[in-house]
């Protein structure tokens, strides 16, 4: 009898502990991890908790609309999430994101046009760029995406982000297409085939990364000679680990805006919105480039960024002409088919 009682008590306790976190969950923010989230913690998350007294817990992810859909089911386990453009567009259409109150955020005219969306507000301007280790190329490294695809001129392995996004853009730039005309070329008949053929030309020297923290590691370990990377990770590695990694801005790059979104039916909606407002204050946005060079999405924050950090930001005047803005409509439409094709291509020897 005694043992049954103990068992029942243990069972009840187990049920309770399983039920509790769902009932009394703390405000949860999800970002991209690594050096970037460390910077966010120092600049935003910790001061926010101190200022408002709201307890904030963190999670990290690597993106994917599927993950977002799963997390938004029922009572979401995340509240505020940093997402890429296509996740923002899809998520908003599917009704898994809360519409934002733009008046309370300071008005749409305070932001770059691309940073304004019904369900999301721009967090950062970031870019996928061509990076290499300056110490490995004492006589001058790759200066174009054509060089990236030229394994005779620059021997060694290369890494790209797994999946078709950016890979097809870069493969198109490598054929001599100026960045501004990349999507036009990809939309033209045969454009995608040409890009895949270009990728195929260096297939045996290509490896793929998935998490943003990987490219600096691949460069540092000498595993690859050059790689595509998020620009902030490269500068962070230079500043924190005293690396001599170089970014070939002039080779062309794809820049994007990441947005803050709030998941629909968040049990902490008011707190979540307060957090988003805190994150997008101009003085807060202007702090980030000093640690990690992602540009602000507010026009009035751009003016507050110290000049010494501007050279490392994709949206600075000297870099911007070489970049092309990520075409979300092209990718939302084609990402599924192209991902399938990319997977099939990558899986074949």
């Amino acid at each position: 009898m005694r043992s049954t009682g103990t068992l029942a008590a243990a069972f009840a306790a187990a049920l309770l502990t399983a039920a509790l976190p769902a009932a009394a969950r703390d405000l949860t923010i999800t970002s991209w991890g690594g050096a970037y989230q460390n910077a966010q913690r120092e600049l935003y998350f910790a001061p926010f908790q101190k200022e408002t007294g709201i307890k904030l817990v963190e999670d990290t992810w690597d993106g994917g609309i599927g993950v977002l859909r799963t997390k938004a089911q029922g009572t979401p386990v995340w509240d505020v999430v940093q997402v890429e453009t296509d996740e923002l567009v899809l998520g908003c259409e599917e009704g898994i994101l809360e519409p934002l109150d733009w008046q309370a955020l300071g008005g749409k005219d305070k932001f770059l046009p691309a940073a304004v969306h019904e369900c999301g507000v721009g967090a950062i301007v970031w870019a996928t760029i061509l990076a290499y280790d300056g110490n490995k190329f004492p006589t001058g490294g790759p200066a174009s995406w054509a060089d990236f695809f030229d394994t005779r001129k620059f021997p060694g392995k290369r890494a790209l982000r797994k999946g078709p996004r950016q890979a097809l853009e870069f493969a198109t730039m490598a054929q001599g297409v100026p960045p501004a005309e990349v999507y036009e070329a990809l939309r033209a008949p045969g454009g995608i085939d040409k890009a895949f053929a270009k990728l195929d030309s260096i297939k045996k020297d290509l490896i793929f990364w998935e998490a943003g923290a990987q490219p600096p590691q691949l460069l540092a370990s000498g595993e690859v000679a050059m790689t595509s990377a998020y620009n902030g990770r490269i500068t962070a590695a230079n500043r924190q680990d005293k690396r001599n990694f170089k970014i070939a801005w002039n080779a062309g790059f794809v820049y994007q805006i990441d947005s803050w979104v709030i998941l629909k039916n968040s049990p902490k909606k008011a707190e979540a919105f307060e957090l988003v407002r805190y994150l997008t204050r101009p003085e807060n946005q202007a702090k980030l480039p000093a640690i990690i060079p992602y540009g602000p999405t507010r026009v009035d924050a751009g003016e507050l960024v110290p000049a010494e950090f501007a050279a490392d930001i994709p949206s600075s005047p000297q870099n911007l002409p070489h970049g092309v803005f990520f075409d979300a409509s092209f990718w939302v439409e084609n990402v599924e088919k192209l991902t399938e094709r990319f997977n099939a291509w990558a899986a074949q020897k």
Partner: protein
């Protein structure tokens, strides 16, 4: 005398039945647990492979109308009217994205067709509904989109199962192979079996002598060694795999050593390719080979081999004729265990393999997490399950299931 014998027999039978029932009752919680937490979720997952409910949920009346309509080209006006009206309603409920997603699986580009049409649909028709739709996008005048809608309206779909074996339906609804540059999953399935077979072989080659050593050493020595075998069991799989990246990478410990010893002129690629996958998986799965072998070998008396030697057999002959056959149940069990476990491997190949070394579980995870295409994930899981069961049947026939001993 006779009655008592009958009664005795009856009492005996009753007692037997009671003990059988008692045994069954004891197993009941486990059976219930297996059904609720194992069998039902698996069946549910498998059902996802043929599920086709998006259109039925978002546009129920259209679904019915489309099912009733037979024929090619744009359907009659009443059907078009229902589809158009309901698409507008679904858009207001934010369910049009679900329909768009489903149609985009039939043909890339239809997502945009559905969504832009849903956004621009007027409240009433301008001319006929069909003319209204064609005015928004000429694609509505083509037979293709209506055939696609009709396929989406069926109670179940085979596109995922067909896609999982590199087939699809063409415009005339006939089943054909996908173009070679898009074929992938049969290759991946074969690769999954091939990698698993190689890993099993390496585990056996390395594990057999180790298990023999463990079984023949005095316990004082065997126990600490056994703990060394078990140690990887208690370490996180991720940690072990990450450790292999550090060891095998281009400027890692092993390459450094080989270059410094002069065995290699230049570091070789040991990781992010097939070599890395085989090394790491063999290491991770080794205990599953050693333990069944060890438990079987412990039961083989060494006196039998000695008897063979004393009767004039060479050591090799004694091993081949006496020891090896006796240890076969362990070999069979270890191989089956390692092979089946290897089939489902995902994290290790994802971390230490290249794009051409990914096994089928990788794609299951990819479709579940990245694109939320549960139908495709379920279809691939079904493919793996069926292939594994078939293989198991063949294996059981060849080896004899009663010869397996897991410990």
């Amino acid at each position: 005398m006779a009655t008592s014998a009958v009664e005795l027999r009856r009492a005996l039978r009753r007692a037997e039945r009671r003990s059988t029932l008692g045994g069954l009752a004891l197993a009941l919680p486990l059976t219930a647990f297996l059904v609720v937490f194992f069998l039902l979720p698996i069946l549910g997952m498998l059902a996802k492979a043929v599920e086709n409910s998006e259109l039925a949920i978002a546009m129920p009346r259209s679904t019915e109308a489309l099912r009733a309509w037979q024929g090619l080209g744009p359907p009659p006006e009443p059907v078009v009217a229902i589809v158009a009206a309901e698409l507008k309603e679904a858009h207001a409920r934010r369910q049009s994205a679900m329909v768009a997603q489903r149609l985009n699986r039939e043909e890339a580009g239809w997502r945009n067709l559905i969504l832009s049409t849903a956004r621009r649909l007027p409240d009433g028709p301008q001319g006929s509904w069909l003319e209204t739709l064609v005015a928004i996008d000429p694609a509505w005048g083509e037979p293709a989109i209506w055939a696609g809608l009709r396929r989406a309206a069926r109670p179940w779909t085979d596109i995922f199962l067909l896609a999982a074996i590199d087939l699809h339906r063409d415009d005339h609804d006939a089943i054909v192979r996908v173009p070679p540059d898009q074929a992938i999953y049969l290759d991946v399935l074969l690769r999954t079996f091939w990698i698993s077979a190689l890993v099993t072989l390496f585990c056996l080659i390395l594990g057999y002598p180790l298990a023999y050593l463990l079984a023949t050493l005095p316990e004082r020595w065997a126990n600490p060694l056994l703990i060394l075998v078990l140690l990887p069991f208690w370490t996180s799989l991720l940690v072990r795999t990450a450790a292999w990246i550090v060891l095998l990478q281009r400027e890692g410990v092993i390459n450094d050593l080989l270059v410094r010893l002069g065995l290699l002129a230049e570091p070789v690629a040991l990781v992010f390719n097939r070599t890395g996958v085989l090394v790491a998986m063999t290491h991770v799965l080794m205990p599953f080979m050693v333990l069944p072998l060890y438990s079987v070998m412990r039961g083989i008396p060494l006196s039998l081999t000695r008897a063979a030697l004393s009767l004039g057999a060479t050591p090799f002959l004694a091993f081949r004729k006496v020891y090896l056959p006796l240890s076969m149940p362990g070999v069979a069990a270890g191989c089956l265990l390692v092979f089946i476990l290897a089939l489902g491997y995902y994290i290790t190949p994802a971390l230490v393999g290249g794009a051409a070394d990914q096994m089928i579980s990788y794609f299951v995870a990819f479709f579940t997490l990245q694109t939320a295409n549960w139908g495709m994930a379920a279809a691939l899981a079904t493919l793996l399950l069926v292939a594994t069961l078939l293989l198991y049947v063949v294996y059981a026939r060849l080896v004899g299931i009663d010869r397996l001993r897991l410990g």
